[in-house]
Symmetry: C2
Subunit: 717 residues, 2 copies
C-alpha cells in the first residue's frame, strides 16, 4: 500500500491516528529504518512468528483504538520462548478488552541509547521537525531541538550535537558511535513526509533506538491525522513597497494643529523634521495646518498619493479606509491604536472590520497601532527629535517605541538608519514583507528586527536565512511564551513550546539573537566596524583592578577563548614590562603600557603578531587612567586608540572597553572624550568587558555559521 | 563486622577500594537501603542461592581487583532460571580471568528510575555530597547537585528538586512518587560516613534505583579508600582583629616622599585622606616624610603599633617581617606584590619564605599583594579619592582593585562602607577570618565578598550560612574554573568540578550570587532600602515603548511574576486611564499618569491596594518624559517619586527604573536630577528593567531562603 492509500483508508474509517504497523509502513516509505515486525491475528500465530524471528521478542497489542500502549499494559518486552509469548498474548488481550484487533511481533532490540524524533504542525511555523533524548527521561528532561521544515540533510546534521546528551551519540559504554547519516535520514524523511502529507498532524518516533553497532531503528511510532495545510500565502508582488517606503507624496488623514498638550501631534512631527515630499493634511475643519494648505477629504486631492497616513481615532478608521479605496489609494499607514492589541471587544471588532475593508480594497497596510515609516533620506519621521543622518542599518519593528528608541540610541554609537518600519498589528504587511524589500535595498547593509509574533513563520525562516547570508540579521524576540499552548497527542507536540520553534529559527538561519535594544546596538557596532574574525581566540590588554580574572570569566561566559600567549610574545612583553610574571600570559595586565604610548604600541604589536590571537580587546580602567595628569592623559590615549593603534593591531579585529566607578564632572568629561573620539573613528567601544565579549562573540558566531553553511557566501560579504 | 573493621582489613591488605559487598555493608551501617544480596564462591552455589531468592536475578563477578564491572562484562542482568545463572557464571569467570574471587547474587529489581548519590573529598571544601540522575545518562547529562558536608536532613531535602530531572521523582509512568525521606537518609548517611571515616576518599552509589512503589535502593556501590582528613584549623582567637582593623597607630615600612610619577605612593594616600591615628613612617634615609617625623626602623619606635604596613619591594619583605617579630609587632599588612601570584620561581620562593617567618612569629598577615584596610571612620585608605562617609556595608575582597572600585561605585548609589579589606594572597588571614569579625561588628549590616579561592571551604560555608541569617552576604566569585581538576575514580568525582562546589556554597548558605561590581551595587541598593517583600508578584507601572512585553520578559527571566491585576484594580484604573484595554492588566502602560501627579497617585494607590501585588516597580522612559516641558517635568516627577509616592505604595517594596536613549546635555542633566533625587531619598533606582528585576529577585530569593530554613531568623532581621 502506498502512503496516500494508508492515510486515505484511516481517514475513510474516521480514525484519528494510524495503527503502529501502518505508521511504520508510512515512515519506511520515507526512508526511516523501522524495526522488522509482523502483524498477526492471534496468540498462536504470534508464537509461531516469534519462533521464526528468533527470541527474545516484543509483543504488542494492535488496534485502531489502542494508543498509549505502554500505559495500558499492551507492550511486553524480553519474551524468550513460545510459552512466554502465549502468556503475554493472553494478558494483553485481557488488558485491551474489546479493542484488540491483533498483535505485533518484533525482535527485542539491544541498545542502551534511546532517542525520540518527530514532527508537529505549528499554527505559525507550519511543520517542525524534532530530535531529542528518548526513553523514560524524554519528558522529565526535555532535551530536544527543533527545525522548521523543509529540512535539508546539511541542516539536519547539526541537530544531534545540540542535545545536552549529545555525548551519548559518540562511542558509549562499549557501543559504537551512532550512525549520524542514518539519524539525518530519519529527520529529513520526517520533513519530506510532512511536506507531502498535510493531513498528517503529528509524528512521534519513540524510541528511536541506537544499537550497539550504532545503527538506528524506529521501534515504536505514532502518527496522528487531522492536520491541515496552512493556506500557502499566494506569491505576492511587493514592488509597491519601493514607492510606499520612499513616498514622494503623503496625505495625513486627521492632521491637527499644534496643541499646548504634552504630546506632540503627527503633523508637527512630520513638518518639523522637514519632510521633503509633498504633504497633504486632511482635515474637514481647516484650510491650512502648520502653514500647509489642507483638504477636507482624500477625495479632494488631485490624485492618489504614495502613502496615506491615517491618524484618526480607531472608530473613524473604517471610513478613512473606504475613502482610500474610493480614491485609488493603496498604500496606507494606520497610526491609530485601539484595535486587537486592546484585547477588548470593541477593539477586536474594529480590527475585523478593517481587515475586511483592506482585503476588499487590496490595500497595503502598515499597522494599525504603529509609528509607521522612518525615512531619514526623505526627512520623514513620526516622532520627536530623530537623528538626521542616513546610514546603512534597517530596522523592522513590531513596536513603535522600540523603533524610535533604537534610532536615537544607535546614533550615540555613530550608527544611522537607511529606514525603520514600525508595523504594529500587521494587518496586511508583516515583517517578512519588509525583509524582502531590504534584501534588495542597496542602502541597507544590516537588518534589525524586533518581533513579537509572526504570521507565516516558515516564510520568515526562509527569508531570514537568505538575507542573512549577505546582510547580517539581528533579532530581538519579545514575548517569551508566544505561541506554544496547543492540545497535542504526541511527545513531540508536548515538547514543542513556542520558544523551541523560535530557537529553531535562530539555529537554522544564523540570525543574531539579542534581548534588548542596548545589546542590539552593541552588536550593530561590532558588525559595522569589526571585519571578519578568523576565530574565537582573544587577547586582552588592560590595566589592573582584578582585570585578569574578570576578563577570563567574561570571555569564557561569552564562549570565547583567552589562549596563553606564545613564549615568543611573552618574551617580547617581558622586555619592557617589569615584574611581568603572570601578568603577560593573557590577559596582559600592563598598567605601565598605558602611561607611555611607546610601550602601548610595543605591547599591541607584540600581541597582534601572536599567531594564537584572532582578535584584540584593549580595556581601560577610567578611574586609574584619569589619575594621570588629571584627565588630560585620556584625551591623548583616546587619540592614540582611535588612530595609530589601528595600524599596530595588524588588521585583526580590535575593540576597546572601559569601566568607570568614580563620579564627578571631570571624569565624566574624560569619558565623553574617550567615547566621542573612538566612535567617530569607528572603533567599537563598550562599557565593561562582558558587553565587549558578548558583542564580539556574536560576530564570531555569525561568521562561523556562514563559513560552515555557505562557504561561497563569505567571499561576497 | 563494624565499619572500622571493614576499612581496616582493606587497608591492611593494601587495597585501594572496598569490594562491592563490603561497600554495601558499610553503607547499610549508615542507613542507606541496599539491595539484598548474597556472596557465593562458585557457579553452583550462585544458582542455588538464586533459586532460594527467586528469579529473575543479577549475577556479578566479585574480586578485590574488579572495578568497572559493567565495562568488563562482569554484570549479568535478568537471569531467569538456574541454567542461565550457570551459563552467566561461566562467562563472567572467563571475562574476569584470574581476578575472580566469587560472585554476588541479587534479585533483579524492577524500577524505571535510576539516580546516583555519592561523596568526594575536595582539597578546599572537604567532603561533599552529591545527588544526581543515574543510569546510562549520568555522565552524558551531568544532572547533579552538591552540598558541602556536614549535611543535615533539612538541607538534604532541597537537593532532589534541584535536578533538571526532578519531575521523575514525582509519580511517574504508573510508578509511585519516590520516597523523599529515604533519599534524604541516603544523603545524610553519606555525610555521616564521610565525617566519621576520613580514610574513605570517595563513595559512589550508582544506580540508586527508585522502585515502582517509590522505595529507594542502592544496587551498586563503589567505595574508594586513601582519603586523608584535612588538618582541622585549630580554633583561633581572632580578637586581635578588633585592634588590627581599627588601628590607632600605624607604622608604614617603606614610606616615601611624594613623587612626580604617575602613581601616587602609600604615604601620600594615607596622609591626604587624613588618617586620624598616629602614623610612623619608617625609612632609613629620611627624618620626615610629608611633614611627619620618620624613623629608620621599627626597632626605633617606642613600642609595638596596632598595624604595620609593609610597603617595600618583595625581596625586602622577609627582613621587614623579622623586624616585626623582633619588636613584638603582630598585625601586619603586606602591601607588596611579587609573590606566588606571579606564578614565577622567585615569587613562589619568596612566598614560602614569608610563610615560614609568619608562622614562626605567629604574625597576623593581611596580604601580600593587596590594598589592605579601608576604614573611613579612622580616615584610613590606601588609594586615591575614597569616599569620606561611613556606612553599613563591609567588603572583603581578594582583589585590591575591586575593593576601591566598589567603594566609589557604591557611593554613587548612596551606599557607604563600614570597612573594606583587600587580603590578596591570604598568607595567614583568609576571607573567613574577616567574616567572623564582621559578624560581631555592629556598624556592619551587609557583607560583600569578592572571592577567587578559599583555604577552608567547609568553614567558609558555615560562616557564610551563619552570618547571612542576620546580615545579607553578597558574593562575587571570580574564576569559573577554580579548583576542580583532580584524578578521581568515581562518577561522583568526575562530576564534581569546582563550579559545582561553589554552587553548593550558594545553595546551602543562601548567600546572594552576583557576577560584577555593578550587579553587587544593584543588589546592595535593594537590600539597603527595600524591606521584606512578601512574595514574587510584581506590578509594573510605566510608559509605552514596547514596555509591556519588555517588562514581562525581564521579570520572567528573573524568575518573578507579573500577575494580572484583580478586576477591582483594573476597574479603578479604567476610571481615569482612557482606552485602557490591555494596558491596565499588568504591566500598566499609563503614559497619561506620568503627565499628572493626581493620576499617578491614583494609579499607585490602586496597584498598591491589589492583594496580588508584593512589590511595585515604576519605570520611566526618560526621552518621552523629557519631552514634557523640556525636562522641567522630570524634576517634579523625581520629587514626587522620592517623597509622596512612598506613602502611596502602602509600604510595599517599591523600586524605580528608567531608560534613556537620546543623548544631549539637557536630557543628561534630567537624568542626573532623577538619579540624585531618588538616591538621596533612599528609593532604589535602576537603569533598565532587567537590572531592577534582577536586584529585586535576589532580595526576594534571600528572604524566601531565610523564611524556609530559619523561620525564627526573620524576626531578628
Amino acid at each position: 500500500m502506498n502512503p496516500e492509500e494508508l492515510i486515505a483508508i484511516a481517514q475513510a474509517a474516521g480514525r484519528s491516528a494510524l495503527t503502529e504497523a501502518e505508521a511504520k509502513q508510512l515512515l519506511a516509505a520515507y526512508g526511516v529504518p523501522v524495526v522488522t515486525e509482523e502483524t498477526v491475528h492471534n496468540a498462536e500465530e504470534a508464537a509461531g512468528r516469534a519462533e521464526v524471528m528468533g527470541f527474545p521478542v516484543v509483543l504488542k497489542g494492535l488496534g485502531t483504538k489502542l494508543t498509549h500502549k505502554t500505559e495500558r499494559g499492551l507492550v511486553r518486552l524480553h519474551l524468550r520462548d513460545r510459552e512466554e509469548v502465549l502468556t503475554a498474548a493472553g494478558e494483553i488481550a485481557n488488558a485491551a478488552a474489546g479493542d484488540l484487533e491483533g498483535f505485533l511481533v518484533q525482535p527485542m532490540l539491544a541498545g542502551k541509547r534511546e532517542f525520540v524524533a518527530g514532527m508537529i504542525r505549528d499554527e505559525r511555523f507550519g511543520p517542525a521537525i524534532m530530535f531529542g533524548l528518548g526513553g523514560v527521561y524524554t519528558e522529565a528532561l526535555r532535551d530536544v531541538t527543533f527545525r522548521i521544515a523543509p529540512l535539508e540533510a546539511t541542516e539536519a546534521a547539526y541537530m544531534p550535537d545540540e542535545l545536552n546528551a549529545s555525548a551519548m551519540l559518540g562511542r558509549f559504554r562499549g557501543e559504537e558511535a551512532a550512525d549520524r547519516e542514518e539519524i539525518v535520514r530519519v529527520l529529513t524523511g520526517l520533513s519530506r513526509l510532512a511536506m507531502a502529507h498535510p493531513s498528517v498532524a503529528e509524528v512521534d518516533i519513540n524510541p528511536l533506538i541506537v544499537g550497539p553497532d550504532g545503527r538506528v531503528t524506529a521501534v515504536d511510532a505514532l502518527i496522528v491525522l487531522g492536520g491541515a495545510e496552512l493556506p500557502a500565502a499566494p506569491p505576492r508582488d511587493l514592488s509597491f513597497l519601493v514607492t510606499m517606503l520612499a513616498p514622494r507624496s503623503i496625505a495625513l488623514v486627521g492632521a491637527k494643529r499644534a496643541q499646548d498638550g504634552r504630546w506632540q501631534n503627527l503633523m508637527v512631527m512630520i513638518t518639523s523634521y522637514g519632510y521633503t515630499g509633498r504633504l497633504y493634511p486632511i482635515n474637514p475643519r481647516a484650510d491650512e495646518i502648520e502653514g500647509v494648505p489642507s483638504y477636507p477629504s482624500l477625495r479632494e486631492l488631485p490624485g492618489p498619493v504614495d502613502l496615506v497616513i491615517v491618524a484618526v481615532a480607531a472608530p473613524l478608521v473604517p471610513a478613512a479606509l473606504e475613502d482610500c479605496i474610493a480614491t485609488g489609494n493603496k498604500n496606507v499607514h494606520i497610526f491609530a491604536a485601539g484595535f486587537k492589541e486592546t484585547e477588548e471587544e470593541e477593539g477586536l471588532r474594529l480590527q475585523k472590520e478593517i481587515e475586511e475593508i483592506a482585503a476588499r480594497g487590496v490595500l497595503h497596510v502598515m499597522g494599525p497601532n504603529c509609528m509607521g515609516l522612518f525615512n531619514p533620506a526623505l526627512r520623514l519621521a513620526t516622532w520627536i527629535s530623530p537623528p538626521t543622518r542616513t546610514g546603512s542599518v534597517a530596522f523592522i519593528s513590531q513596536s513603535g517605541g522600540h523603533s524610535g528608541d533604537l534610532a536615537v540610541l544607535a546614533a550615540r554609537s555613530g550608527l544611522y538608519f537607511s529606514k525603520a518600519i514600525s508595523y504594529g498589528n500587521a494587518l496586511t504587511l508583516d515583517s517578512t514583507d519588509f525583509l524582502e524589500y531590504f534584501k534588495h535595498d542597496d542602502a541597507t547593509e544590516i537588518v534589525c528586527l524586533y518581533l513579537e509574533g509572526v504570521r507565516d513563520g516558515s516564510r520568515l525562516v526562509r527569508e531570514v536565512a537568505d538575507i542573512n547570508r549577505h546582510k547580517p540579521v539581528i533579532i530581538m524576540k519579545g514575548g517569551l511564551t508566544e505561541s506554544g499552548a496547543r492540545a497535542v497527542a504526541s511527545h513531540t507536540g508536548s515538547l514543542a513550546g513556542g520558544a523551541h520553534l523560535w530557537e529553531a529559527l535562530f539555529r537554522q538561519t544564523g540570525a543574531v539573537k539579542v534581548s534588548s535594544l542596548k545589546e542590539m546596538t552593541d552588536v550593530l557596532l561590532a558588525f559595522r566596524h569589526l571585519g571578519v574574525p578568523a576565530g574565537r581566540r582573544v587577547a586582552v590588554l588592560g590595566t589592573g583592578g582584578g582585570i585578569g580574572v574578570w576578563a577570563a570569566d567574561s570571555f569564557a561566559r561569552a564562549g570565547l577563548e583567552l589562549p596563553v600567549l606564545t613564549e615568543e610574545t611573552q618574551s617580547d612583553l617581558r622586555a619592557f614590562i617589569p615584574d611581568a610574571g603572570n601578568m603577560i600570559k593573557n590577559p596582559v595586565d600592563a598598567g605601565i603600557a598605558f602611561t607611555d604610548f611607546t610601550m602601548l604600541e610595543r605591547a599591541l604589536r607584540a600581541i597582534a603578531a601572536d599567531p594564537l590571537v584572532d582578535a584584540i580587546v584593549v580595556t581601560i580602567h577610567l578611574d586609574w587612567t584619569f589619575n594621570f595628569a588629571t584627565g588630560k592623559y585620556i584625551e591623548a590615549l583616546a587619540g592614540y586608540l582611535a588612530g595609530p593603534a589601528r595600524e599596530h593591531t595588524a588588521g585583526k579585529p580590535y575593540l576597546v572597553s572601559w569601566q568607570r566607578y568614580r563620579a564627578g564632572a571631570g571624569i565624566e568629561q574624560a569619558e565623553t572624550i574617550l567615547y566621542e573620539t573612538l566612535i567617530a573613528a569607528g572603533v567599537p567601544l563598550y562599557e565593561g568587558l562582558p558587553r565587549a565579549a558578548s558583542a564580539l562573540s556574536k560576530v564570531v558566531a555569525y561568521h562561523e555559521f556562514q563559513r560552515a553553511r555557505c562557504p561561497a557566501c563569505r567571499e561576497s560579504f
